[in-house]
């Protein structure tokens, strides 16, 4: 792709340039109190350049169609993720986050995790995000609050993010192009097959464990989840129950404490 057109650029230099321009773009786009249209456009341009750099360091998946699909969903995820953190209005941030979730769900689908792709949409966008929007509705002062228009230390945070991203992408780029020997290690799916909890063994071929085109892919995930990880499922259910009770307890106790605070305050000021 672009890397072929620029043979003189080593991947390291390209990555460094992409990470630096990503940080500069975030710094320009983050809310800093003053609304400068020129800075915003420059930030978007730098962000596009950073994305082009990351795309150039990406590897070809195979056919053009696979590349195009992966590129589309990951661009949706990354651009909406950036918009989530740079937009001023928290309501729009939540909506952009929903958009990022659809992109992430697309990436998960490309990776062959159909159940997780759907669950991300249903659980995150359907339940968690709606909860966010409810809280925003309950707790949003009218108009844009000053703390939404100023961020604390945008330059330092952008640099911190760039350092982390640079280290991560450098180490990811060092992954060798050879298929690792670990793939030959017998998958744990084989162990699950002999699980006495399950009467009908499903998969025995480790390489076919995650075949995105298999008909019974979700059934296999379910048998893994309720076979090897049965105890964890129980613990997760317990955690959900505890969180529910805890949330209700904090609300009721908190309101009582708030009333008591107000009462003592009026007593003090009134007396």
């Amino acid at each position: 792709m672009i890397a072929a057109a620029l043979p003189s650029l080593s991947p390291g230099v390209l990555l460094a340039a992409a990470v630096t321009s990503a940080a500069a773009s975030l710094w320009l786009l983050l809310p800093r109190g003053s609304e400068n249209t020129a800075a915003r456009w420059l930030g978007m341009l730098l962000g596009a350049a950073a994305l082009a750099g990351f795309i150039a360091t990406g590897r070809r998946l195979g056919s053009l169609g696979e590349d195009a699909v992966f590129l589309t969903v990951s661009l949706v995820a990354v651009i909406s993720g950036a918009a989530t953190i740079v937009t001023r209005s928290p309501v729009y941030a939540a909506i952009w986050f929903a958009m990022a979730l659809t992109g992430v769900a697309g990436v998960l689908l490309v990776l062959g995790a159909q159940f997780l792709g759907v669950a991300t949409i249903v659980v995150y966008a359907g339940a968690i995000l709606v909860m966010f929007l409810f809280v925003l509705m309950l707790a949003q002062p009218s108009g844009l609050a000053p703390y939404d228009r100023v961020s604390s230390e945008p330059l330092l945070s952008a640099v911190a993010g760039a350092v982390l991203l640079g280290l991560l992408t450098l180490s990811i780029g060092r992954l060798s192009a050879e298929p690792a020997a670990c793939c030959a290690v017998p998958s744990r799916t084989a162990a699950v097959t002999e699980d006495p909890l399950r009467s009908t063994p499903l998969a025995t071929d480790p390489m076919a464990a995650i075949d995105p085109l298999a008909d019974d892919q979700i059934a296999r995930l379910g048998s893994e989840l309720f076979g090897r990880h049965l105890l964890s499922v129980e613990v997760a259910g317990l955690l959900l129950l505890v969180a529910l009770i805890g949330a209700v307890a904090v609300v009721s106790r908190g309101e009582a404490a708030l009333e008591a605070d107000r009462g003592s305050l009026t007593e003090r000021t009134g007396g």
Partner: protein, 160 residues
Amino acid sequence: MMVSSCPISPLLAAGSMPLLHNALIVGAILFALGLVGILTRRNLIVMFLSAELMLQGISVSLVAWSRYHGDWGGQVLVIFVLTVAACEAAVALVFVLQAFARTGRLDAAAWQSLRDESLARTVDRELPASDATPASWPRLSPAGVLPTGGGEDDQQRQHI
């Protein structure tokens, strides 16, 4: 074992290095974006959204490794990440609501009396007037009953 007759490139099959590489890059970018957001934004809810963005980056990486190794462990872990994220959102949003009820602001700096003694106090500088409200709202073609407009409508819009 069922063998799919659908043509799929060998690179998309299990253990594909380019797919793992690209998905890990996407996960790293999402994680870094979430980190920047949680470090720099001051609205408690936007900070929380940034934390969720970091979780999404982690999920993408876990599923990519799961696909590469042909092992369900990563996907199972992501299911538990979803569960814990739901619990965490419920509990933390309750705390955010309580904090809002006490201070009337969703500002993280409203709680700066909890800071270390050696740290300087954050002082907000004066901001120019907000230009958040656009000069004109988009016009839709008229349909149905003409709204009366006025106070309540504008109040609703100010929340966005």
